[in-house]
Amino acid sequence: MNPIARNPKDFWTGLIYILVGAGALVISREYDMGTAVKMGPAYFPTILSVLLVGIGIISVLRAFIRSGSPIGVVAWKGLVLIVASTLLFGVVLRGAGVVIALPLLVIVSALASARFSWKTALLEAAGITVFCIVVFLKGLGVPLPILGSWFGN
């Protein structure tokens, strides 16, 4: 059986470690290595990168000789909606202001739940928006516009 199917966790984790480690190693070469007495900016990252690549290689090799547990259920819908709603929030925050950004964040993320209903989501969005304007914007003075620059403010 192939190692990806038999021990996916060891395989993929190892691969990620190898890729990140190798990437860091390549980038570190742009910096000055220095000597042990006078460590340059590349010294410590180089040690770490080599360590990480080493750990990654062992992990991948282990996937070939030992079987592991499967990855299991992945909440794709949840993951996509949580990440997307957060990004969206960042994009519209200044332009549209919290009156738009907050309800957007609440409703888009709430869509991830199996028990989503428009009524509760809209109610919650309204409640949270009012709460945040009162507590964070007025109370704690977070410098965010209620209505953003897209509306000519």
């Binding site: 000597t35 007495v37 460590m39 900016p41 750990i55 949840g78 957060t86 949270i128 965010l144």
Partner: protein, 499 residues
């Protein structure tokens, strides 16, 4: 009687109306999040950090500490009443606590948890007050080599105590160290791993990493299977345990306090390990071991004392050495740095008000917990029934606004989303994020200590093994890793985490 004088300083600091208020706010918020399932102390503290930046350092840390031990306490209430542990450390409390509640003895179980927690909190606070100053005095004599080795020991211990594969945890530590190096190198002024992004010149904010990996990734994980949470809430009748109960809880509380205090100091564990170990040991030594799992009061008293004791003693390495023993302590160190306090052994002498104020306020906070929470059980019970589909968008909003307000930039919001993705990926691959966060905080410090140690030794790397204290620390770390990877113990370790 220096101790009394020091406690006097602590009392005068923590008894100001403002600090009392923040202590109260901390334990209240802590209990709240301890009660709400799916929201842990790490995510909450990360969420509230931006708010505390405007407070004076002492008040900020008093409040953050209150949140931490308050959450340990709140988690037990829901474990007992509805069999939903609000927090990882109270998972074992649910075993016997819920059974007691079903037998109509919810009140007795809650009081036992409260009494045990308060006793453990008091003892652990005394331990902290007694042992922290001498430890800090020893640490003041440490050179860079010793500090480097101490950090290595801390990271190795966090690898051993992490759930899942040792190898993967080791990788997470190295990854965290590398991540910590992103930004401007203090010695050369060169920007490392910033990909030309000006926003990364100061490094990646640790609040951003913590909120993404612990807050958002955790939400995603909870969305995998939204269990039906229509549950039976047990009624609370008399809060008073019987005479027999009192007699039976004394031993477990004492043992739990001892085990929890000792294990709390260990890096990587905090209160969780303590509560599991205390329950397992109590089950072995108790005369009533047959009753365990069927509502034995010992099964509530021991883990509840242990987790509270552990929550307090995990402050010892943080306050005296500047080394975090768990993600919450890592966040506290981050908070100190932002407040302009350099964490380490000199805190105790340079900031006596801060140090003793925090210690005394912990005891006051524990008192608040007992006095306030038993009467407020009705409120907590109602909070447990808040459906998750309403809770998580609110958490997301607080994370979003909180992370934005750090530097008033959208960049941090995007970075948080990125770390949510990374965090969830690693959760699915069985790589625990806690060691990574610890390493991330320690990364820049470790590089600096290594640089200085090698400078002093004229480039000779054996300095870490020839200096006795440094060598001992490294040997301890190596021993822990070897022990954990021995086949016999390896199996035990897996069992311990599965329970």
């Amino acid at each position: 009687m220096e101790l009394l004088a020091n406690l006097g300083i602590g009392l005068s600091t923590s008894l100001t109306p403002l600090n009392l208020l923040y202590c109260l706010a901390g334990v209240f918020l802590g209990t709240l999040i301890g009660v709400l399932p799916g929201l842990g102390p790490t995510a909450t503290i990360a969420m509230l950090l931006p708010v505390t930046f405007t407070l004076p350092p002492v008040s900020a840390l008093i409040m953050l500490a209150g949140i931490y031990y308050g959450s340990q306490y709140g988690g037990s209430t829901t474990s007992i009443l509805v069999n939903v542990p609000g927090e990882a450390a109270s998972v074992v409390t649910a075993l016997d606590g819920y059974q007691m509640a079903r037998q109509g003895r919810a009140g007795a179980a809650l009081t036992t948890a409260a009494v045990g927690s308060f006793f453990a909190g008091t003892v652990a606070t005394i331990i902290l007050a007694l042992f922290a100053p001498p430890l800090a005095a020893v640490a003041l004599k440490f050179g860079p080599a010793e500090f480097f080795s101490l950090m290595v020991l801390g990271l190795l211990a966090s690898i051993v105590l992490a759930r899942g594969s040792l190898l993967h945890a080791a990788g997470m530590v190295v990854l965290g160290l590398l991540l910590g190096l992103v930004g401007t190198d203090v010695n050369s002024g060169i920007q490392r791993f910033t990909f030309g992004l000006l926003r990364l010149a100061d490094g990646i904010g640790f609040v951003v990493v913590a909120m993404g990996m612990f807050g958002l990734a955790e939400i995603t994980r909870n969305l995998e299977n939204e269990e039906d949470r229509s549950m039976v809430v047990n009624k609370v009748s008399s809060l008073m345990p019987t005479r027999e109960d009192w007699k039976r809880m004394i031993g477990p509380i004492l043992r739990g306090t001892g085990i929890g205090s000792a294990l709390g100091i260990l890096p990587g564990s905090g209160s969780i390990l303590g509560s599991f170990a205390a329950y397992a040991i109590e089950k072995k030594v108790s005369k009533n071991s047959k009753e365990f799992g069927r509502g034995a009061i010992e099964g509530v008293a021991a883990p509840e004392s242990a987790n509270n004791a552990g929550a307090q003693t995990s402050f010892i390495p943080m306050l005296t050495l500047g080394i975090p023993s768990n993600p919450v302590m890592a966040l506290m160190i981050g908070a100190m740095i932002i407040q302009g306090i350099q964490p380490g052994p000199s805190v105790i002498t340079e900031q006596p008000k801060l140090f003793w104020g925090i210690i005394v306020s912990m005891w006051i906070g524990n008192l608040f917990l007992v006095v306030l929470n038993l009467p407020m059980i009705g409120l907590w019970v109602r909070l447990v029934s808040v459906p998750y589909q309403l809770l998580y968008p609110a958490i997301l909003v607080f994370c979003g606004i909180g992370v934005f307000s750090l530097n008033n930039t959208e960049f941090d919001v995007y970075a948080m989303a990125f770390f949510a993705l990374v965090g969830y990926l690693f959760v699915k691959l069985d790589c625990e994020p806690a060691p990574m966060l610890l390493a991330y905080i320690l990364g820049p410090m470790m590089e600096e200590y290594m640089r200085r140690a090698l400078l002093l030794s004229r480039g000779d790397p054996t300095v870490f093994f020839t200096r006795p204290i440094s060598a001992t620390l490294l040997a301890l770390g190596a021993l822990a890793v070897i022990a954990a990877s021995l086949p016999a113990l390896h199996k035990k370790r897996e069992e311990a985490f599965r329970e």
